[in-house]
């Protein structure tokens, strides 16, 4: 009997080997889940960890769960994750730089402390009597039958309620993601009109017709001679740094040139030269 217990409290070397190898993989996967920059990578490494866990379930004699793990988690849930990641944007790589002051240290501290505590707890729980699942599974002739009998007898209420929960979850997901269309869809014509109306289709007139020092702040003139604000860049318009080119200012300009020429007395000279 003691021998049997002792035997039950030990595992085969094969399982041990498997544990150590896959366990490392699982831990690595978990770590990379936490540390990967891109959500996709995290998802994939998490999937890996889950598969490993599935193997462990099997190793622990939970065959049903092992399969379910693979099907539900790795199959369904992780796919869902990936979908969402796609929705949000695969390339979206969020920086691991911490924004909250001291958050990372706190987290690390708490984590390590917690882990140590758990391990210590397990350690001094001195769990050595492992009587395997052999009898339990054999009772109903197999693991799955055993589970089924338990689910549908002992845990039937919980099971039903879980079902209700699933339905609710589905509906909730639909409700949350569903977007109500408020107005009827636009026809193609309306769209095109929208695109064209109110905008100026031909290119804007160029500024700087009357260049003084830099032409950017002087509006170009429309064919009818009125200055067009549009030709000046937005910022200058907002700053109100547009020079007006109304007629009188043009006249002033002319007068200015006139006076300068007279002072230089250039043009009559030319005439004389011409004569």
């Amino acid at each position: 009997m003691t021998g049997l217990a002792a035997a039950a409290s030990q595992t085969s070397t094969g399982e041990a080997f498997q544990f150590w190898v896959l366990g490392t993989v699982a831990v690595i996967g978990a770590l990379s889940t936490v540390l990967m920059k891109k959500a996709v990578h995290s998802a994939l490494s998490l999937a890996g960890t889950m598969i490993v866990l599935a193997v462990f379930y099997l190793a622990n004699g939970a065959y049903f769960l092992g399969v379910v793990q693979i099907v539900v988690y790795t199959g369904a849930i992780m796919m869902l994750f990936l979908f969402v990641v796609m929705l949000v944007g695969v390339t979206a790589a969020d920086s691991l730089k911490e924004t909250l002051k001291g958050q990372r240290w706190l987290a690390a501290g708490c984590g390590i402390g917690f882990g140590v505590l758990l391990i210590a707890g397990i350690g001094n729980a001195s769990l050595n009597s492992f009587n395997g699942l052999g009898t339990a599974n054999a009772e109903h002739g197999g693991n799955i039958e055993g589970l089924a009998s338990l689910i549908f007898t002992k845990y039937v209420f919980a099971f039903e309620i879980t079902g209700a929960l699933l339905i609710t979850a589905t509906v909730g997901a639909m409700v949350l993601t569903h977007r109500e269309r408020t107005e009827r869809a636009k026809t193609q014509r309306e769209m095109s009109e929208e695109r064209v109306r109110g905008k100026q289709l031909p290119p804007l007139p160029a500024p700087g017709v009357y260049a003084r020092h830099n032409a950017v702040d002087i509006p170009g003139l429309l064919p009818d001679g009125t200055p067009s604000e549009l030709t000046v860049m937005q910022t200058l318009r907002n700053r109100g740094q547009i020079r007006d080119v109304s007629n009188e200012s043009l006249d002033q300009l002319k007068a200015l040139e006139q006076r300068s020429e007279e002072r230089l007395g250039r043009d009559n000279e030319d005439e004389e030269v011409a004569k």
Binding site: A26, Q69, G115, N128
Partner: protein
Amino acid sequence: MNPVNYLYLAALLFTIGAAGVLIRRNAIVVFMCVELMLNACNLAFVTFSRMHGNLDGQIIAFFTMVVAAAEVVVGLAIIVSVFRSRHSASVDDASLMKL
């Protein structure tokens, strides 16, 4: 080897997941970490059921999976709608719980 190691592993995974929840800002990744923690628990349950030699532990793990599935569905839906409203999936954007 003593199967207790499974428990140690579970503890380790759980802790890593928790740390991830605390460290990461991307809501999706946070969710993944949560899943990780759940799985760690499942592993522990399974190991326990093996330890005690009855299937209740596995049942619990089973239920956990189902609930986890439901949670993920709803949670991701929420994330999606949040992402729609404000174009980011970061849990730190706008500390909403502050007055």
